[in-house]
Structures are given as structure tokens and as C-alpha cells.
């Protein structure tokens, strides 16, 4: 729930989204986990009223900016937001000019946890985009874990670390393409909308695997702090809040 001070240092335009590159004070990012998110004010006045939730698309400490980061961020800690204009708030945010401060709350929620014995990590980005999975890839590579990223929507190859295998998935029949890679992986991490989670859970059950699947859920989050009780998802233990109890859940909690 901390307020995070960050300003837009650069923006890069891509086919599906605008990437906002933000500089932050390094201490503010200590201990941040991939999968956590920030709540961003997306208006100067009172409409749209609510903040928008954005996963931390990239997170890096000082001197470790990811591929594609603008040169002025090479020596600074920072984070990047993948902003896909889909409504009034995101369209406003995608137009933020360079040198604009952003009003952020965060980092919020619980992120991904890599198992200590994971050596091969499979990342699966569903149609809504890569969410926090690139930040997770960076994190895994730093722990000498090999990473394969399956993406349902095209993702710019120049933003992907060269050590990561990037594979495009077809919109239909992607499960057959992904299944052998599940066999290869020690752990599977996904990003996708709450609306599609029951299909993913059913897919995991059909695979008959005991491997751990974690998913960063995307859904409407109103306050981000757990207070409004608005963003609930049904789990094995009843309603749980995406913002406070997630957004990363074990897929088994969601029926997988």
C-alpha cells in the first residue's frame, strides 16, 4: 500500500501495447516479487475515478536494465508497465509523455514463488498478453533457471533476453503445443484472465501432472489494498481477493 515514486523516463511503442519505462529509487524495489502489481491513477481529475492495476512487466535493480530498455535507464533501478489501450484509463496512461510523474500505489499483492529445485521453467502467456512473465523470466535467469516462454499473442523478440526460448502459440489448439513443454518443465507459471481460469484448471487436470502451476490472474481490481472486497475469485477455500490474497494463485486452489 506504499506510495511509490516513479516517473516516465521513456516510452516505446509496440504493435500490441505501449511500454512505459519508469525510474525508481532502488530501495523502493527491494524485495519486490514478479507477479506483484501497482495501482496507477489514470486521470488528472475525478473521472475515471478508480486506479488501474498493472503488473510489473519488468523490474530491475540499478545497472541491470533488461533488453530493449532505453539507454538513460542503464544505470538506474526501474520498472516497466505494459499498457495495452483497452479503455479510458489505459488509453490515458498510454499517452503519458516522457518526464511525467505517475501516481502509483504498490508494489501490492503476492507474487510468484520459484521452487528451490526448479531448473526448467515454462511460462505461458495467454491472449491478454505477457503480464508479469517477463519480469519472472529475468528473475529466473538470475537464478540460473532455463526459461521457455509460450506466447499466444506476438511479443517483441527484441525485448526478450537471448537466453529465453520464445515460442508463439496458435490461438486454437495451443494445448497440444504446450503439453510436451510441460513435461520438460519443473514448474509452470501462467498469466491470464480470471474469466478463463476454469478452462486452464481443466487442462491441468487432463494433463494428469503433479507439477506446480501458478497463475497471475488478471481481473478488475478496484482498490488494490483488499479493503473494498470487490475483486474476489472462487477458490477451494472460498472467496479470495485478487489484490490481497493474489494475484498469483496456485492453480490447484482454483480447481486445477
Amino acid at each position: 500500500m506504499e506510495e511509490l515514486s516513479a516517473g516516465v523516463v521513456a516510452r516505446t511503442e509496440h504493435a500490441q501495447a505501449t511500454l512505459l519505462w519508469l525510474a525508481c529509487a532502488a530501495p523502493a524495489l527491494q524485495g519486490v516479487q514478479p507477479g506483484q502489481f501497482v495501482m496507477v491513477r489514470c486521470a488528472e481529475g475525478q473521472d475515471p475515478l478508480l486506479r488501474r492495476a498493472y503488473s510489473l512487466h519488468r523490474i530491475w535493480p540499478s545497472g541491470a536494465a533488461p533488453p530493449g530498455a532505453p539507454s538513460e535507464l542503464r544505470d538506474q533501478a526501474g520498472l516497466a508497465l505494459w499498457v495495452r489501450p483497452a479503455g479510458r484509463g489505459s488509453a490515458w496512461l498510454a499517452r503519458r509523455p516522457v518526464a511525467t510523474p505517475l501516481d502509483l500505489l504498490g508494489p501490492l499483492g503476492h507474487g510468484f514463488a520459484l521452487d528451490a529445485d526448479t531448473r526448467h521453467l515454462l511460462l505461458l502467456a495467454l491472449a491478454t498478453g505477457p503480464g508479469p512473465l517477463l519480469a519472472l523470466a529475468d528473475w529466473a535467469l538470475a537464478r540460473e533457471v532455463s526459461v521457455t516462454l509460450l506466447a499466444q499473442t506476438p511479443y517483441p523478440a527484441e525485448l526478450v533476453p537471448p537466453e529465453v526460448e520464445l515460442i508463439s502459440l496458435p490461438a486454437a489448439g495451443w494445448e497440444a503445443r504446450a503439453a510436451p513443454l510441460v513435461a520438460w518443465a519443473d514448474q509452470v507459471c501462467l498469466s491470464g484472465p480470471l474469466a478463463g481460469v476454469s478452462e486452464l484448471a481443466a487442462w491441468r487436470r487432463r494433463l494428469g501432472t503433479r507439477k506446480r502451476f501458478q497463475i497471475a490472474l488478471e481481473g478488475d481490481v478496484a482498490c488494490g489494498t483488499g479493503i473494498c472486497m470487490g475483486c474476489v475469485a472462487e477458490t477451494r477455500h472460498g472467496w479470495r481477493r485478487l489484490c490481497r490474497d493474489g494475484p498469483v494463485f496456485d492453480l490447484r486452489e482454483l480447481g486445477g
Binding site: 500500500m1 506504499e2 506510495e3 491513477r41 475525478q46 473521472d47 475515471p48 475515478l49 478508480l50 486506479r51 500505489l105 478488475d220 478496484a222 482498490c223 489494498t225 483488499g226 479493503i227 473494498c228 472486497m229 470487490g230 475483486c231 474476489v232 475469485a233 472462487e234 472460498g238 472467496w239
Partner: protein
């Protein structure tokens, strides 16, 4: 040395707030989750989310959608129930200077009485606020008539020797009569009000966007309507009135106070920025300092 500004406001016998900025029911939850990050003791008061006799899971999602300059919500009052609140939350409130007012939501007058008795016996409860606008299992709003309001307040009054606020919805028909009935039955003060009934529509799915259909509209969109309701009740009853509805800036709060409210409650603004009540308080203090007055009363006169 400059004397500190006196922002204190008497709300009821035995309950004077350090300043007029309160958090409305649900604005910051039960307070405990955020207490280590926010200086709660600086505020005038905190009203808890509405407490029911038994635990409630709340309604299925979607529970909350954005409206123009506002929020439409229907959560179904999720809360852990009276016993869990008394056991788990009240001992924490007892360690704060901040007055905590417990919001009660009963389905009947008897239930309100039982809730009041249970909370009056708990540590750390400075007052009670009866939620007469947003009841579990619906229904009560449909029969929100002066006799029913009076019966609920009368059922609570002898069972709790605590300051008692009755919260009424700004948009209720015959609001002034409801307010009079609450005061005549023993309410010490009134909270006006609660959001207004609304509906958001999903054209693609051809149904309401909220899972349960309609909801309550809150936020800046309703502020002029809520302010009018406060002014009408202030003109009609002598009991203190707490204003609530779309307050997100110090200037908004000062408008309510000039219109006759003794204090204000902040709710939806907390969902946007949890520090909103503190910012509002600072903006009020800045306005009074700029006017070179020593107290809120001096500024209002």
C-alpha cells in the same frame, strides 16, 4: 508560540472527536490491516464495515464496477460476524486513541439489539452506527419507514450505553421523517447518508453488470445529492448530523461543515487513495490556518 488549531467536534455525550474527518463504514476496513502503515490516531474516527450476527461471505462477483466519477457496488456485507469481530478486532481497537464506531447490520430490530449488546460489551468500541440502508438479505430498505427506523433504534438504545448514530440513505423517500424518528427513538446523531441506488448495464451480455443486479452509487458523482440531503436533515432535526457522500478533498468536507454537518465521513476516496482522509484533514487545517482562525468553530461562525 502559535496555539494549535482546535478542530475538535462534539458528536454525542461522551464522544468528542479530535477533528471532523472520519472514515465511513468500509472505507478502510476494520483498520487493523492498515494500522501499521497509516497514522489512524490522527483521524476523528473510524466506522467499521457493517457487522452481522453470523459471518457473511458476501455476494458473488462482479461486486463493484466503475461509473462516471463514481463507483457502483453491491458486496453483500462480507464480514466475519459478531463473535469473530469481538474476539479478533475489538482488542486491537482498544489499543488506539482513535474512536472506533462499530457499524451494525441486522435483519430485524431484535438482531440490531443483539449486535449492539455484543459490541457494547467489547473493548475498544467508542460508539455504534446503525446501518439502516444496506441490509443483509435486502428487504429492509423497501420497508424503511419511520416506524421501522424508530423500532430498530428503540430496540438498540436500552442494550448499549454508547453513543448511537443512525445511518440513513441520502436518497430515501421521506428522509427527514426517518431522521426525526431515529432521534425521537434515542439516536444521539445521524449519518447522512449512504450512496444512491443505481444500475450499470452490460450491453453485450444483456444483463446488469453487477452479479446481483442493482447496487449503490458512491463517489464524487453523488456529492451534490448527498449534500442536499444533509442540509435538509440539518434544517429539520436538532441532533448532530455527520455528512457522507463523495468527499474527496478538504474543500468538499468544508462545504458539508458549512451546510451544518458536525463531521464528515470519507469512503470511496479511500478506495482510490487510502491516505485520502489524512489529505482532507491537512487541507482543512491549511484553509483554517490561512484564515487565521484558532478553531473550526471560529471559522464556521
Amino acid at each position: 508560540m502559535t496555539e494549535p488549531l482546535d478542530l475538535s467536534v462534539p458528536l454525542a455525550s461522551g464522544l468528542t472527536l479530535a477533528n471532523p474527518v472520519m472514515v465511513a463504514a468500509g472505507g478502510l476496513g476494520f483498520g487493523g490491516e492498515l494500522a501499521h502503515r497509516l497514522d489512524l490516531d490522527r483521524l476523528g474516527g473510524l466506522v467499521t464495515p457493517s457487522i452481522t450476527l453470523g459471518a457473511r461471505r458476501g455476494y458473488p462477483p462482479p461486486r463493484l464496477v466503475e461509473a462516471v466519477a463514481g463507483v457502483l457496488s453491491s458486496t453483500g456485507l462480507p464480514n466475519p460476524g459478531l463473535a469473530a469481530v469481538v474476539r479478533g478486532q475489538a482488542p486491537v481497537w482498544a489499543t488506539w486513541r482513535l474512536p472506533v464506531l462499530a457499524s451494525l447490520a441486522g435483519a430485524t430490530a431484535d438482531e440490531f439489539g443483539e449486535l449492539a449488546e455484543g459490541l457494547a460489551a467489547a473493548p475498544g468500541v467508542a460508539g455504534l452506527e446503525l446501518n439502516l440502508a444496506d441490509q443483509p438479505a435486502g428487504g429492509l430498505l423497501d420497508r424503511l419507514v419511520p416506524a421501522e427506523v424508530g423500532a430498530i433504534v428503540a430496540a438498540v438504545r436500552p442494550r448499549a450505553a454508547l453513543p448511537l448514530l443512525a445511518k440513513l440513505p441520502s436518497g430515501a423517500a421521506g428522509l427527514v421523517d426517518l431522521a426525526r424518528a431515529a432521534v425521537e427513538a434515542g439516536a444521539d446523531a445521524l449519518t447522512i447518508g449512504h450512496g444512491l441506488p443505481g444500475l450499470a448495464w452490460d450491453r453485450t451480455r444483456r444483463r446488469p453488470r453487477l452479479a446481483v443486479g442493482g447496487g449503490t452509487l458512491s463517489g464524487p458523482a453523488i456529492r451534490p445529492l448527498a449534500l442536499r440531503a444533509v442540509a435538509e436533515v440539518v434544517a429539520a432535526v436538532s441532533a448532530p448530523v455527520v455528512g457522507c457522500g463523495g468527499i474527496s478533498r478538504g474543500a468538499d468536507a468544508l462545504e458539508y461543515l458549512q451546510a451544518g454537518a458536525v463531521a464528515v465521513q470519507v469512503c470511496t476516496a479511500c478506495l482510490v487513495t487510502p491516505r485520502a482522509p489524512w489529505t482532507i484533514l491537512e487541507e482543512i487545517a491549511q484553509t483554517l490556518a490561512a484564515a487565521q482562525v484558532r478553531s473550526l468553530n471560529d471559522w464556521l461562525e
